[in-house]
Symmetry: C2
Subunit: 385 residues, 2 copies
């Protein structure tokens, strides 16, 4: 159901010829109102792609009438020409939609290889094709068109009390967002203003996309947008709406981890007993990024020593002699030393749960990561060649 699950939206996904293999590569999402409220969060990488610079400006106005997304090229590190191309893309969308809305209300997102200009001779005509293909059930096609190395397209929907939040996401590598992540478009027909959308979106991404750390590599193009059409006429209570947004974000974030490049395991790292949430996140991220541990988990080896060596590199509050670690529920490390028999740990399933107890306070956080595999190496050795 994707971005067209909510009333008031049309979408399309088509093949514009940006990808050499002819797969779909251009998605368009249009908000038909009556409201055009929007919020967005973007990568905290200081090297930002042209479409991120553009869309940050668009979102400052709190109004988005359309989002155009392309795969097949990130338009990052492409200089002034790259920014001109993004601007021209937004102008073309505004014009092709009949000129009712100006380019300043069109958000742009791109994904693919960094450092290559987009083939504008293919992209601009593709926008006409996409506009002609817009339908009220085009959400799935749009979700397919934003895939890069994704093996599946990713959508999620929550409906309640007459209003709906739906969304689509793409992402399979360079997956360690700092403030936002990957390309995600969420839509709702709830009748809410952009300030409320912004609050709900930031609250949701903070504990969902921001807690995904597949490979420690932060993208230049991460974008999450939330558009509201108001078409349901419903004004949900803030808490109920925020929870729905969080649920959709969490669902999409889990799908991203589940489809991470070359991964054979999804690793749920829960840090408990932390003095504060920042400590819990710092420790979780350090564990998530430890290549040796990621290899061990790939080998189904409950190597808790690598968890402790990762915790030891952080500034979090803990006493090394009080640390406890469980893998899939077996406390293999107690008080910083050998605990229960590691042979009791079964790691056959795709999901592996690591619990790290800092034994210092009452705060916690969950980070999701993936294992490190020969397939990841293979896929990312060959990506641009």
């Amino acid at each position: 159901m994707s971005v067209t699950a909510a009333q008031g939206f049309t979408a399309a996904g088509i093949a514009a010829g940006i990808k050499a293999n002819g797969n779909p590569d251009l998605a368009l999402v249009v908000n038909n109102g009556p409201r055009l409220a929007a919020a967005g969060v973007f990568t905290s990488n200081r090297v930002k792609a042209a479409p991120v610079h553009w869309s940050e400006q668009v979102l400052r106005g709190g109004i988005v009438s359309a989002v155009v997304l392309n795969s097949g090229g990130a338009n990052a590190c492409t200089g002034p020409k790259g920014f001109q191309d993004t601007h021209a893309t937004a102008e073309k969308v505004a014009e092709a939609l009949g000129g009712e809305h100006n380019a300043g209300e069109v958000a742009v997102a791109s994904t693919g290889l960094i450092g290559v200009l987009l083939p504008m001779d293919k992209l601009l005509p593709g926008i006409d094709t996409a506009v002609a293909a817009l339908t009220a059930d085009g959400g799935e096609d749009a979700a397919v068109a934003i895939k890069t190395t994704d093996t599946v397209h990713k959508t999620a929907t929550v409906s309640e009390g007459g209003w709906t939040v739906g969304g689509m996401a793409k992402g399979a590598g360079m997956l360690a967002p700092g403030l936002a992540t990957m390309l995600v478009v969420l839509t709702t027909d709830a009748d809410l203003d952009s300030a409320t959308l912004d609050r709900a979106l930031r609250s949701a991404t903070r504990t969902t996309f921001d807690r995904v750390d597949s490979d420690g590599c932060m993208s230049t193009n991460d974008t999450v947008l939330l558009l509201a059409s108001g078409a349901s006429g419903e004004v949900p209570a803030y808490e109920a709406f925020a929870e729905a947004v969080r649920t959709v974000c969490d669902d999409l974030a889990r799908q991203l981890i589940g489809d991470a490049e070359g991964a054979s395991k999804d690793i749920r790292i829960e840090v408990i007993g932390a003095a504060d949430e920042d400590d819990a996140v710092e420790v979780g991220r350090s564990i998530a990024r430890n290549n040796l541990l990621k290899c061990a988990i790939h080998g189904e080896d409950p190597n808790w020593g690598r968890v402790l060596s990762a915790i030891g590199t952080t500034k979090a509050a803990f006493d090394p002699d009080r640390l406890n670690v469980a893998i899939n529920g077996v406390w293999v490390c107690k008080n910083g030393s050998v605990g229960e028999d590691r042979d009791l740990v079964s790691m056959k399933g795709r999901e592996v749960r690591i619990t790290a107890d800092l034994a210092t306070g009452g705060e916690s956080a969950v980070i999701w990561a993936n294992d490190l595999t020969a397939e990841y190496v293979h896929e990312n050795s060959a990506y641009s060649s």
Copy 2:
């Protein structure tokens, strides 16, 4: 020539049976004086192995008469029993050497799997064997006995003006020291006090071992010791001595990178144009730890976009639109955008040079790293099983 290149030292390397495969696993280095001055630097990981805790105490006295090192077990995260075992090992060495020196002058170092107690019933008798095997040319045997996943043993020597600095190192994985690294023992017959040794050693490790970042994983056992016998009777000028220590450390550090687990490339990352040295090191380390870039280099793909995305995650001073990146001398990125033709870059050799110009100031730093390969994944998936 290793640790016995300098006069006044004897050493041995033997198989005590700690390793299941029967390979050498116990090394002993003895300072026969007349001086027994020493300095040491240790891992900055807050989870420290028992022998690190012990040896830090020993080095506080500035006197080391012997160093005993075992492979086959790290004695890390082994609780009070692990520390007792380290203490017993030092006591046994002091006793076996004739009781002239006490255990408080015996440094201990261990390497191998974390979280497993050492087989003391094999280690302690092994010390008698090692003492019996001590010779003035035992440095090579000692260097062999500290290997774990190392494919070669690593030694280096500098001699000048009647005095010598020599050393041995082990290390092939979990190789991203924060203050020190791996197991390294350096010896000299120069007649210098421990304060001078300490100054020269810290100065050398700061720009050699501390600039090695093979896989981003900091060990619990990193130890670098420098022992002086004074046996040459020479008192070199500080600068000449410090430079000799730096040369030996640099040589050993390069050997570590060259033997890193599963690596097919040695990556020399030079950050130039930085506002200060800390910025240069932060940026170099961020590039060194980017798994996607490490994969790209393995695939001989000059993917400079991944260099920029790594730089963008740092707090260093730079303007994204002024960044320049060269790979093997070809400036593939200029002013944050496409530069010279990437097809001009040849990456066939083992060494790959990345130059990142922050275009902000005049400071620089060099970090050494490795590529990420299927062999690294394979080796580290199977290590403890």
